[in-house]
């Protein structure tokens, strides 16, 4: 069968599972007064449509920042504005200032879900297809299998189409950035990545590798001469893109400061909710949140993040090739996730983008998904994804060993542990003394995995062992 038909079948399967998941509940459904992320996105449409630009990020009588104030960069705001125009056409009640708070209806849900699907088709899916086509090594069947696995990755599907977010936009733009760099179109790559950064500040996790790779490449070309010229072009592209995105906010110096203040809420604590990062896990043993002062917490997280990210970035700087770049992306995002300030569960998607196989990431989101009423899609998609990736992997690698022996025993142990935890989280009642026992256990288990991963991938990047096909495909 021709490639185009196989790829289109993959896309159709991916789209079908996305839309089928969207039938289920969203975050904060039917839970006044605050509701959830779905209401946040609707509220941003209301705010951007009805208020002038200079009021979007400020606390005014019309804009109560305590009720889901904007805390993403301007590109998200513009996206919400466009959606709001469409919403106004379909049903003005959806974006009525103040009156539409907590608006919930079946047709509104369809509209919101449709906006996610639209941007997914426009940005993320073409990037995935191009990535698999041009950057995966292997036969065409392996490329198709990779595309299928990436498109069916439950993490993105459940967060975007279940919980409700627009991660496919920022991840897609970041992927376009990676594509650009891979094809040698540095300017296009920088542009795409800058746009991703201006959509969600979470993309900072990937910024250091981009920076180091491009800088390293320019240095290699000679800082006096072509390299310098290239560096200038890239810097100009980035600056102009930033300027264009922030243009409405540059008239008054107070504006960008306020936006930054909203984007990086150092006022909030070291962590919220049960997240699989160091601080949350450490808090179980030592109550850091109360022991250390706010400033010390900030400093500690900054220092550790930098510590873990430095070796990887330096290595990339010295050896700017694509394989190093990919590994650095993984390491960098893991480092940020594990050690930085105010990390939310969804940040892990960034690292996951490059490691489709790692099921653990998805499992760590279990508490959040259960809270949203998404247990059924969680079970179905994770089983399907696990089975599919195992099946495809076993058939596409040239090995004669049975599947069981191919993976080390701790892989199977992890799977069993995750399955048991999933089961107990849902079916058993936690003891009264520790009401959050299960979400915390999930977080700790995931944290231990991630710590293992970051050590492993750092070792791989720094030591560069013989590049045989390891079972953890770093595609």
């Amino acid at each position: 069968m021709e490639n185009w038909s196989l790829f289109s079948l993959c896309v159709l399967l991916g789209l079908t599972s996305r839309w089928a998941v969207s039938f289920h509940s969203y975050s904060g459904a039917g839970k006044p007064p605050m509701f959830g992320d779905y209401e946040a996105q609707r509220h941003w449409q209301e705010v951007t449509y009805n208020l002038p630009v200079h009021e979007w990020y400020f606390n005014t009588t019309n804009n109560d920042l305590n009720y889901w104030g904007l805390d993403y960069p301007p590109l998200t705001a513009y996206h919400s504005l466009v959606c709001a125009y469409v919403a106004k056409l379909l049903n003005p009640e959806w974006v009525e200032l103040h009156a539409s708070r907590g608006y919930e209806s079946h047709s509104h849900k369809l509209f919101m879900r449709a906006t996610v699907l639209f941007t997914d088709i426009l940005i993320y899916i073409p990037a995935v297809l191009l990535y698999c086509f041009y950057f995966c090594d292997g036969s065409s069947k392996q490329k198709v299998a990779t595309a299928l696995c990436i498109l069916l990755y439950p993490g993105l599907i459940l967060i975007d189409y279940g919980h409700f977010q627009y991660n496919s936009v920022s991840l897609g733009l970041a992927l376009w950035g990676i594509l650009g760099l891979g094809l040698g179109w540095d300017l296009f790559g920088s542009l795409a990545f800058t746009l991703a950064l201006n959509y969600k500040q979470m993309e900072l996790y990937h910024s250091l590798p981009f920076f180091c790779y491009l800088l390293g490449k320019c240095i290699k070309q000679g800082l006096t001469g072509r390299g310098f010229f290239q560096l200038a072009k890239i810097s100009l592209t980035v600056l102009v893109t930033f300027a264009l995105c922030w243009m409405p906010f540059l008239s008054d110096p107070k504006q960008p400061l306020q936006v930054l203040h909203r984007l990086f809420p150092f006022g909030r604590g070291l962590f919220e909710d049960k997240v699989a990062n160091t601080w949350c896990s450490l808090n179980v043993l030592i109550k850091i949140k109360t022991l250390l002062s706010r400033e010390t917490q900030l400093f500690l997280s900054f220092a550790l993040t930098l510590l873990f990210i430095l070796p990887s970035s330096l290595k990339l700087l010295s050896k700017p090739n694509l394989w190093q770049f990919k590994l650095a992306l993984v390491n960098s995002s893991l480092a940020f996730f594990l050690f930085s300030f105010q990390v939310h569960e969804k940040s892990i998607l960034l690292a996951a983008l490059l490691m489709f196989f790692l099921f653990v990431f998805f499992h760590s989101m279990l508490p959040l998904l259960v809270k949203d009423g998404l247990l059924l899609p969680y079970v179905v998609t994770s089983l399907a994804f696990l089975f599919l990736s195992l099946y495809l992997l076993s058939h596409l690698t040239r090995t004669n060993e049975p599947l069981f022996w191919y993976f080390p025993f701790h892989f199977w142990f992890s799977l069993v542990a995750m399955a048991v935890l999933s089961f107990t989280s849902v079916w058993l009642e936690p003891p009264a003394k520790f009401p959050d026992l299960f979400p915390v256990l999930v977080s700790i288990l995931s944290f231990l995995h991630f710590l293992g991963f970051i050590i492993y991938f750092n070792l791989v990047q720094l030591m560069e062992p013989q590049r045989k096909k390891s079972q953890k495909k770093t595609n």
Partner: protein, 503 residues
Amino acid sequence: TVMAAPVTNDQSWFFALALGVSFLKCLLINAYHSTDFEVHRNWLALTHSLPAAQWYYEATSEWTLDYPPLFAWFEYGLSHIARFFDKEMLVVQNLNYASPATILFQRLSVIVADVVFFYAVKECCKCLREDKGKYLLGKPSFILTVLLLWNFGLIIVDHIHFQYNGFLFGVLLLSIARHFQNRHFEGALLFSILLNLKHIYLYIAPAYGIYLLRCFCFTQSNIYASPESRINKLSIDLPQVLSRLFPFKRGLCHAYWAPNIWALYNIADKAFSILGVKFKLLDINKLPKASMTGGLVQEFQHSVLPSVSPLATLVCTVLSILPALFRIWHRPNGARGFLRCLVICALGSFMFGWHVHEKAILMAILPLSLLAVESREDARIFLILSITGHYSLFPLLFTTQELPIKILLLLLFTIFSLTSLKTLFRSGGALLNPLEATYLLGLIPLELICEFVYPLTVWQKTFPFLPLMLTSIYCALGVTYAFIRLYISLLTCSDSTKKIKTQ
């Protein structure tokens, strides 16, 4: 680009496909379900709560039991498991009861019952004449498995609209496979069981009758009669059961016209009446009020052409399948000839039957898949019939939420069947000629007009059923064309009994 040499079980791809489609079905648990959901819940309740003698008399709900007794026993068996999910669903008075546990149970019961279908498909794959392929995606058994397991019609009718067709078609395909494997007693037994599960399979009973009579009943005595009579002893009160099974009070056409001959007949009648009034040949006061497209099941009065009675449709149906039956009688072409005749009987009954449901097209499409992976001409007919037939199922899912799902799934199935069959029959030029391709492509503008453009126009209020009518008529053309081609291929195929090893 050869796939890695099979490492584990050679059949692991079958398991992967079956598991994959089951996952998809699980994701659709929350989708829209039709009144058929309440129908089956009601049957669970009444078989659980009442003694068997009263099952066919119970009429609290409007959805009375109108399937044969064996299906009622099946529902009875299910009801014992249903108790653990939600006892309230088994109370007959709880009309339209649909708690989350009820929905979960009923959906899961369909998904689990499909195991029968999986087994049947596996057996059918064993019956293929040759199964060589350069790589997995080109093997006839792989293609057949996907065409059956991932059949668009089955997925949306069973797992969204809600019915138990997978399980029933599993019994049918198993019966066909047994005939291919020369295990004729089992095949006949399975068909008798099937008839006692859902009487719609009477459509294809003539094919079974003629084939078995011709090939075996002259040598062995009464193999067909005995299972039938044994199972009939399970029936309770025959006249009452029959009156519920065959409600002829319903109209010529279903609420939505199945794309068959009568749809074309109705539209011709309408066209003639409009032209007649225009050219002053008819008096407008003498014409009955047009209520055909009223959307409810009712009798229709034709204005110009003669009215059609149930007897007339029976006669037409019998006439339409008679040549095929004669052909099989004179020149039985082994199991393949029987299968071809079966498809023609199903299609003939679809084309000319009384009050045909559009879902009945599946009875022709599914068995035809077996023939499609073996012969070029059958592949052509299959493509036209399946794409048109599947598209004609669209009006079953009329909700906005399900719109992307049905379009995506239809595209999935269509692209797969087109490309895989094209690759299978690569030699010999294109599979579809330009006219056929144009007709199929015409479905795209039809869909855009019916579901996207028309609802925004002013006619949506005055003629709300026009898109349904258009869909039905456009598809009727394709189905008729496939029927004719299928007949031609049956009547002109040479007697290849010598080539087939089994006879």
